[in-house]
Symmetry: C2
Subunit: 449 residues, 2 copies
């Protein structure tokens, strides 16, 4: 993409309304614009990140056997009256009346609707297990939306819902999602720690939150440093096989959020030098809630012996619009964002230091074509601005590699490559630059590990 | 995808509520489920079609220079008060009040919000032209939603919004969208005819609807048969070049909807043997409305001479959730849907006629792997049902090619391939089947033309 054809409205000023660094950087990097309290537009750069995150989530959900579909944003109130949550949900539920005075609501979650879908079609235990997911906009009317898209009212969530014949089978499904989540966050470059958690308004007795450590995290977390060294399950993990060894390994070291922590137990189980007491951001949650919805909504299947039983269910969420600021909280420095390659809006920014110079522009135009042919996702700064502004902008938006061509380099055949993360610069013959970048970037995509 | 792991709840009974064939077939093929009047869930098979359509639209929008972003579903009422449409829009606008008694609405379209984004960032004529699009859920509270997702209340739309310095530049942008639309529908296998249209509540004085001919179409259309023979602009069309010759060629033959037709002119300009008077489904619309929103909302840029001018704009919509039934109206027979390859939920269905037969299943399992390795999108019917039901189901869901393996064929090394569209069956050695399918299917994807 040529920057002269793109829409990247970066800001020089510090936005006053932003309390945390990710919110400030998302505004400054031209990723989002607030449209009302807790309502955001995703400008092109922000939207590209959102899509890369979505692709990773979809690939890992599909690999784990979840099937993608899509439910509407609005839901009829009747379904929520059946489960009893229409009254219990409180003011965070956005209630709507249509022109015929029918009660609707903007879905904050989808347990009721998916249970309705399930009971409409599935009759026999033979059709289980079933795990359906969608990625759809949700709404929670937070009394005080804040921190940009970290805690917005309208937010994009991946939510999966599983149906199994009994608790044992349901726990296997839970483990599949557990492993899929470990892989999902790893592919985004994140270290996300699964922690036992409260189930809250979703219900049930088994839940894990996945937590990214960050100073600005909303909750205190306590864990054993050992958990940071656990190996990530590989791409060829057999999701039809027994995953309990992986889950056991990840759940043995102590890890709990402040809601669940028992300080005495923490101090007893974890030697002092391995104790981490920090703040964290929740980037996903798994719930097993058994027959909470299937019983109240009559979602039964017939077993082999002819008896009807309520199915056992769980739900599994990842907030996409929250993951973007969570990533920025984890990956930034004083000059701006530092994207991991796998979720970067672009992988390379090609910087033409003097767009008015004929040889320099010709060299850059040619490199732009070569980078695209090499399959790299490239933003080409072909604007007429000065070098200082271009460097500052490139650092701000955080593209992992900068390929810098000036008039002198174009003449002498030399390119400079800057690694945004380490700050290191390398000079090399222009004809080597594309292959050099390809060799560094491809493994960093983490799509083959 | 193995059918035993998939969720494809096809129905044997004719759904009584469906008035048109596409609605009936979408319900029977397990593509959608109604959740309330005009609100639908997209079940996995339907969702796959929606995503294929989305990919084609995105590729053609990007190629034509439009930039993708995403605006929220809910909008603050203030923006619509500025343009004057908050009161004029009528009861089709779903008005919402949040917990702080602020007025929101579920966006039926986005002219106001995109104009607000534009005026927040763009100051100079140098930043033009600019064309931004998103694919987002909209809501129109139709008094009588009907025909399934053809006229639902919540619907998915691609809407692009352009900003240009004057009418001349804006017409060039309009032409780029015109050409992109021709290519978009062509790639889906559709013949869509551009017709001069009324501008309605969007406003402006130039508009084209793209119409697919179908008996169940909501409006009468009148056109010259010549237009059906016009060539589709190629993939390598230069969108920076002059596209007026293409647009002229496509707009010269008479074509108008019932709102715009002048019967005298129609009969005078078109010889009787070339006159088509038929019914059509609108699958997209282009609008040029000049400064209608920029003037009322102060979206100005500074020209080279230092003067401020209101920008000239247009908007360009394609209804994705309506395109799916429109495709089915165009492509079906008495046995079910007949998908064009480019939008088919799967390209091949591999049918194991006897899942209990060891050799037959082994042969099918191997073919399933080979089809996937060949890059084909395959559904594998590995269920234990009988042959008759499997054939009926395969015809109903309309996957373009059926690769059929029975116990006898597995033994003698013979496969049968059925072309869903022509009904033709070919028998060939099993080892030739995958290459045969690859050679037929790849060009039908229309992604390289």
């Amino acid at each position: 993409m040529r920057l002269t054809n793109y829409f990247l409205p970066t800001l020089k000023e510090e936005p006053k309304e932003a309390e945390i660094v990710s919110h400030r950087l998302m505004l400054r990097a031209g990723m989002i614009k607030q449209q009302a309290a807790g309502l955001y537009s995703w400008l092109p750069l922000g939207y590209k990140v959102l899509r890369k995150i979505q692709t990773i989530i979809e690939q890992e959900q599909n690999r784990a056997g979840a099937i993608q579909m899509l439910m509407p944003t609005l839901q009829p109130a009747e379904l929520w009256r059946e489960s009893g949550r229409y009254d219990s949900f409180g003011k965070e539920m956005l209630r709507i009346t249509d022109r015929h005075d029918r009660d609707l609501l903007f879905g904050p979650t989808n347990e009721e609707m998916i249970t309705d879908i399930f009971r409409s079609y599935v009759r026999s235990y033979k059709e289980l297990p079933l795990n359906l997911y969608h990625i759809q906009w949700k709404f929670r009317d937070e009394i005080r939306p804040r921190f940009g898209t970290m805690r917005s009212r309208e937010f994009l969530m991946k939510d999966a819902y599983s149906f199994d014949i009994d608790r044992e089978a349901a726990e296997k499904t839970y483990q599949r999602m557990f492993v899929a989540y470990l892989r999902t966050y790893f592919r985004m470059g994140l270290t996300a720690i699964p922690m036992r958690a409260e189930t809250g308004p979703i219900g049930g007795d088994l839940s894990h939150e996945f937590i990214v450590l960050a100073e600005t995290g909303e909750s205190a977390v306590f864990c054993d440093r050992d958990i940071l060294q656990k190996p990530i399950p590989a791409r060829d993990t057999d999701f039809n096989g027994d995953l309990s060894a992986i889950v056991d390994e990840w759940t043995t070291p102590y890890a709990a959020t402040e809601d669940m922590v028992d300080m005495e137990e923490f101090e007893q189980k974890v030697p002092e030098e391995r104790r981490i007491a920090a703040r964290g951001i929740e980037v996903g949650q798994l719930f097993y809630f058994g027959s909470k919805y299937s019983a109240s909504m009559n979602a039964n299947v017939t077993e082999a012996d002819g008896k009807d039983v309520a199915v056992h269910s769980g739900s599994y969420g990842i907030g996409l619009t929250r993951l973007v600021p969570a990533l920025i909280e984890a990956f930034h420095d004083e000059n701006g964002i530092v994207w991991p390659v796998s979720v970067a809006p672009f992988e390379v920014i090609l910087i033409n230091l003097k767009a008015g110079d004929e040889l320099c522009s010709k060299t850059c135009d040619s490199l732009y074509g070569q980078l695209q042919t090499a399959g790299l996702d490239v933003l080409y700064d072909d604007t007429s601005g000065g070098a200082g502004g271009k460097f500052a902008n490139a650092d701000l938006v955080g593209i992992p590699f900068q390929l810098i061509i000036g008039p002198r380099g174009a003449k002498s055949g030399e390119a400079e490559i800057k690694n945004r993360k380490t700050g290191e610069r390398e000079t090399m013959p222009i004809e080597n630059a594309v292959q050099y970048l390809k060799d560094i970037i491809e493994p960093e995509r983490r799509d083959t590990v």
